[in-house]
C-alpha cells in the first residue's frame, strides 16, 4: 500500500498545480489534430529540465493521461482522430455528434476513459512484477500472429460488405509498404517524392477521416434548409453515469482488452481502441446498432485506449525497456534527472516513482472532471453552420498534418488520401479498415522478417512460428475470428439488398 503513503505528495501546492497544468494542457494538446500523445509529451520535456524529478514526472504523467483522452474531443466533434488510439471513437462518437448528441458522446467518452484509465493504473500498481514477464513473452512470431489477428477483424469493422472491408484493408496494407522498407532499406513504390519517407500514419488518419467529411459538407451546397439545423440535446451528467454503468459488457470488454493489449510492446496503444470496439460489437446483443451512433461503441473504444496507459508503462518501470514511443519519451524524462528505471526503482526512488503513479490516478479523475465540463460547452459545435465547419476542419487538417514533421509532403499525402477516400466511401469502402491495414502492415512485415531470420538461423520457420502455447493460442483466436466473420456473412447477411445498405448509409449521413 505504498502508493497510499505517498498520495499526500500529490497535493502539495506546486505538485498539484503542475498536475492541473498537465491535465488541462494535455486535453488541449490532445484535442489538436496531428498532435499525438507522444509528440505532446516530447514537447513538454524541455519544461521538466527546470523542475525537480518528482515534479517533472507529475507533469509528464498528467499530460500523457489527458492527451489520450483529449483525442476523443476532435474525434467526436470534428471526426478528426488525433492519434490512432481514437479511430474507433469516431465511428460511433461522431455519428452521435451529428445527431446532436455531442454532449452525451463526450460525457460517455470521458467517463469510460476514467474507468478504463483507473483500472489500468491499478494494474500497474498491484501487478507490475507479474505483468513484466507477460510483456516479455511476445517475441516476433507472436507479434506476427497478433498482427494477423488484427487483420482478421478488418473484414467486419465498420463496413457493410466483407469483401469491400478486406479490400479496404489490403489498400491500407499496401500503402504501408510505400517508402523505404524498415529492415533492408530498399525503396518500394516511391512514385512521388512526397512519399519517399513512407506514409506517416497521423497525416493519413487526418486525411482519411476529415477530408471525406469536408467534401460531404460541400455537397450540401448553399442550403439554408431548416431541417439541416440540428437541435442540440442537453444531456445531464447523471444520465451519462447511468448509461456508462448500464453498458457493463462494453465497459468490461473495453477495459480488459485495453489493459492486455497495452502491455504488448510496440503494438498496444495504436490498436487497443479498434480491437475493443470490434470485440464488443461481436459480443453485443445490439451489434447491428454499432456505427449508427451507439453508446457502446464510444464506451468500449475510449475505456480501452485509456486502460492501455498504465500497463504500457510496465516494461519501462520494471525492465527499463520502453514498450511504446510515449514510454520512450517518458524514459528520457527520467534519465535527465539521473533516474534509471529498473526493478529497484521503487526501492531507490520511492518518492519519485510512487508520486508519479499516484499523480496518474488523480490525473484520471481530474481529466474526467474537466472533460465533463468541456462536454457541456462543446455540444454547441453541432450548431456551427456547415460552411464554417467545412472550412474549420479543412484548415485544421492542413495545419495538423503539417505539424507532425513540418513537412509539406505530409499535407499532400493527407489531401490525396482523403480525396480518394471520399470516392471510395461512396462505393461502400470505409476508412477504419484501411487505417488498420496501414498500422498493422509494418508490424506484420517486420516481425515476419525478423522471425524468419531467427528461425533460419535456429530451428526453421515451421517450428518457430507454429510451436509454443502462445503461438497456438493466437492461431486459434485468428481461426475463430475468421470463422466468426464468415458465419456473420453467410448466416445473417447484414444487408440482403441494396436498399437496406442505402437506408443504413442514409441514417449515417
Amino acid at each position: 500500500m505504498d502508493f497510499l503513503f505517498y498520495m499526500g505528495d500529490v497535493f502539495t501546492p506546486i505538485n498539484f498545480g503542475l498536475l492541473l497544468l498537465g491535465t488541462i494542457g494535455g486535453l488541449i494538446l490532445g484535442a489538436t489534430p496531428g498532435l499525438s500523445p507522444t509528440m505532446a509529451v516530447a514537447l513538454l520535456i524541455p519544461f521538466t529540465f527546470q523542475l525537480e524529478p518528482q515534479q517533472g514526472l507529475i507533469l509528464l504523467g498528467a499530460a500523457y493521461t489527458s492527451t489520450v483522452a483529449g483525442g476523443a474531443v476532435s474525434a467526436i466533434l470534428l471526426k478528426i482522430p488525433g492519434a490512432p488510439a481514437n479511430i474507433a471513437t469516431t465511428l460511433d462518437g461522431h455519428t452521435m455528434a451529428t445527431k446532436g448528441e455531442g454532449a452525451k458522446a463526450l460525457q460517455l467518452s470521458f467517463l469510460a476513459s476514467a474507468v478504463g484509465g483507473l483500472f489500468g493504473v491499478f494494474l500497474l500498481i498491484f501487478l507490475t512484477p507479474v505483468l513484466a514477464q507477460w510483456a516479455l513473452a511476445f517475441g516476433p512470431s507472436h507479434l506476427f500472429w497478433l498482427a494477423i489477428l488484427g487483420v482478421t477483424v478488418i473484414g467486419t469493422l465498420d463496413s457493410s460488405s466483407v469483401v469491400k472491408g478486406l479490400l479496404s484493408g489490403c489498400i491500407g496494407l499496401w500503402l504501408a509498404t510505400i517508402g523505404f522498407d524498415d529492415i533492408m532499406g530498399a525503396q518500394r513504390f516511391i512514385f512521388h517524392p512526397s512519399v519517399s519517407g513512407g506514409i506517416n500514419v497521423i497525416p493519413a488518419l487526418i486525411g482519411l477521416f476529415a477530408i471525406p467529411q469536408v467534401i460531404t459538407m460541400f455537397t450540401k451546397g448553399r442550403s439554408s434548409d431548416d431541417a439541416e439545423v440540428i437541435s442540440v440535446k442537453k444531456h445531464p451528467i447523471r444520465l451519462a453515469f447511468l448509461e456508462v454503468f448500464k453498458r457493463k459488457a462494453a465497459l468490461t470488454i473495453g477495459t480488459l482488452t485495453g489493459s492486455i493489449i497495452g502491455l504488448i510492446p510496440g503494438v498496444g496503444g495504436q490498436i487497443a481502441g479498434l480491437v475493443a470496439y470490434d470485440q464488443s460489437k461481436k459480443f453485443s446483443k445490439e451489434s447491428e446498432k454499432f456505427g449508427t451512433g451507439h453508446s457502446e461503441g464510444v464506451i468500449a473504444a475510449e475505456s480501452a485506449n485509456n486502460a492501455m496507459v498504465g500497463p504500457s508503462l510496465v516494461p519501462l518501470l520494471t525492465l527499463s525497456i520502453p514498450g511504446s514511443p510515449t514510454a520512450a519519451v517518458l524514459l528520457g524524462g527520467l534519465l535527465i534527472h539521473g533516474i534509471f528505471p529498473g526493478p529497484d526503482l521503487f526501492m531507490n526512488y520511492p518518492q519519485v516513482a510512487w508520486t508519479f503513479i499516484d499523480s496518474m490516478l488523480i490525473g484520471q479523475i481530474l481529466m474526467c472532471i474537466f472533460g465533463l465540463y468541456i462536454a457541456g460547452l462543446a455540444a454547441s459545435v453541432a450548431r456551427i453552420p456547415h460552411a464554417v465547419m467545412a472550412a474549420i476542419v479543412l484548415g485544421l487538417a492542413v495545419f495538423g498534418s503539417y505539424s507532425v514533421q513540418n513537412s509539406m509532403g505530409d499535407v499532400y499525402v493527407m489531401a490525396t488520401l482523403g480525396l480518394g477516400m471520399y470516392f471510395l466511401e461512396r462505393f461502400g469502402f470505409s476508412a477504419a479498415p484501411l487505417v488498420l491495414g496501414l498500422i498493422l502492415g509494418p508490424i506484420a512485415e517486420a516481425n515476419f522478417i525478423q522471425g524468419s531470420m531467427i528461425a533460419n538461423a535456429t530451428v526453421g520457420i515451421g517450428s518457430y512460428f507454429f510451436t509454443g502455447w502462445l503461438n497456438w493460442l493466437l492461431i486459434v483466436i485468428v481461426l475463430a475470428s475468421i470463422s466468426y466473420s464468415v458465419w456473420m456473412e453467410v448466416a445473417q447477411r447484414r444487408y440482403t439488398t441494396k436498399d437496406d445498405a442505402v437506408a443504413k448509409e442514409e441514417a449515417l449521413s
Binding site: T38, G139, G198, S320, A328, F340, S407, Q450, I454, A457
Partner: protein, 323 residues
C-alpha cells in the same frame, strides 16, 4: 510588430540585391529547427534535446532550437529530406549519426553522402557493446566466438538495423573472429534490439553503451566487450575492449552524434554556428544532464569533425567492399 519591421527589412535587403555580401551579422533572427532522423524518445532524440536546451541563452545563439523528428528506415528518410529538401538558410539544422549515414551512402539507394552536409560540431560518442542476457552461459567474447564456430550462422544476435553502427560492429566481429553470425536487425531501433536480448529471443546483441549500461544496472544483461579502442573509464571500467580479447576491431562502429547543416548554407552562418555550438555543449547544465542520463560526451569542433568524417568514409568503404 517587431516581426513586421524585421520582415520589411529583409524584403528591402532582398530587393536591393543583398546590399553587402556579409548580410548575416544578425543571424539568428528567429527560432531554429533541428531535424533528428530517429523517433522521439530514442537516444539521438533524447541527447539532441538536452544539448540544444541552452540555445536560447544570450551567450549562446539567443534563439531556441526546436527538435523535429523524421524517423524511418534507419535514418534514411530524415537524411534524404535533409539533403534534398531542407532549406540551406541556417535555420534548418540536422543531427548526424556516424557511421550510419556514411555506411548507408556507400551501400547506395540514398540521395546523400558526406558531400551533401556541412558539419558544425560533435557532441557525443556512444560506442557499441556486446550484450547477452543476465542468465546467459556466455561470460566472455571467447565463449561467444566458440559457440559461433560450433554452430556456423547459428548465433543469433540483435542490433538496431542494417548499415548502422551496430551492423558495422557485427561485420567487424565476423571479420576479426573469422566466423559467420546471424545478425537480426530490429525495426524498433536500439530499444527493440535490447528487448530481444532480455526476452531471450536472440542469444546476444550489439547495443549502445549508454543503453546497455542502464540495462546492466537493472540486472537484465551482461556486457562482454566494447567495440572501441579504449575502455570506457566513466561507465564501464571493468569491461575489456575487443582488442584486449584478441579481436582486431577498431572504433569504426562508434556512434558519433553531432550537428550539421545542408550544403549551400552561407559560409558566415556556418562559421558562426561552428564557433557558438561547441560552447553550448560545454555548458555545465548540459554536461550534468548528459552524465546523469549515462550518455558519454565527446565534443569536437568543425575541423575535427571534417577529419573524422573523411577517416570514416575511408574505413567503411574498405569494410563494406568485402560484402
Amino acid at each position: 510588430m517587431k516581426k513586421w519591421i524585421a520582415g520589411a527589412a529583409i524584403a528591402l535587403a532582398a530587393m536591393a540585391g543583398t546590399a553587402h555580401a556579409d548580410g548575416h551579422e544578425s543571424y539568428p533572427e528567429r527560432p531554429i529547427m533541428m531535424m533528428v532522423s530517429y523517433g522521439a524518445g530514442g537516444a539521438t532524440d533524447f541527447q539532441a534535446r538536452i544539448v540544444t536546451m541552452t540555445a536560447g541563452n544570450e551567450d549562446a545563439l539567443g534563439m531556441p532550437i526546436a527538435i523535429v523528428n523524421r524517423p524511418g528506415a534507419g535514418g534514411r528518410v530524415g537524411w534524404n529530406w535533409f539533403a534534398t529538401e531542407a532549406e540551406a538558410d541556417g535555420y534548418t539544422l540536422g543531427a548526424y549519426n556516424i557511421p550510419h549515414f556514411v555506411a548507408q551512402s556507400i551501400e547506395g539507394g540514398v540521395e546523400y553522402s558526406t558531400e551533401s552536409f556541412e558539419p558544425i560540431a560533435n557532441w557525443g560518442a556512444d560506442p557499441a557493446v556486446f550484450v547477452v542476457g543476465a542468465d546467459s552461459e556466455f561470460n566472455s567474447m571467447e565463449d561467444v566466438v566458440n559457440y559461433a564456430k560450433e554452430n556456423p550462422g547459428g548465433l543469433t544476435f540483435s542490433g538496431a538495423g542494417l548499415f548502422v553502427g551496430h551492423h558495422i560492429a557485427a561485420l567487424q566481429l565476423e571479420k576479426a573472429a573469422g566466423v559467420k553470425l546471424a545478425y537480426i536487425p530490429n525495426n524498433q531501433g536500439g530499444a527493440g534490439a535490447m528487448r530481444a536480448v532480455i526476452a531471450g529471443e536472440v542469444l546476444g546483441g550489439v547495443n549502445n553503451l549508454s543503453d546497455a549500461f542502464r540495462a546492466q544496472e537493472a540486472g537484465n544483461v551482461k556486457i562482454l566487450g566494447v567495440f572501441d579502442v579504449a575502455r570506457n573509464e566513466e561507465f564501464l571500467p571493468d569491461v575489456p575492449t575487443m582488442m584486449e580479447q584478441g579481436y582486431d576491431i577498431d572504433n569504426a562502429s562508434v556512434n558519433f552524434r553531432g550537428v550539421m547543416v545542408p550544403k549551400g548554407t552561407p559560409q558566415p552562418i556556418i562559421d558562426k554556428l561552428a564557433e557558438i555550438v561547441p560552447t553550448m555543449f560545454e555548458n555545465g547544465r548540459v554536461q550534468s544532464r548528459m552524465a546523469a542520463g549515462g550518455s558519454p560526451m565527446a565534443i569536437m569542433t568543425r575541423d575535427e569533425v571534417l577529419e573524422m568524417w573523411a577517416a570514416r568514409q575511408e574505413t567503411l568503404e574498405e569494410l563494406l567492399a568485402g560484402l
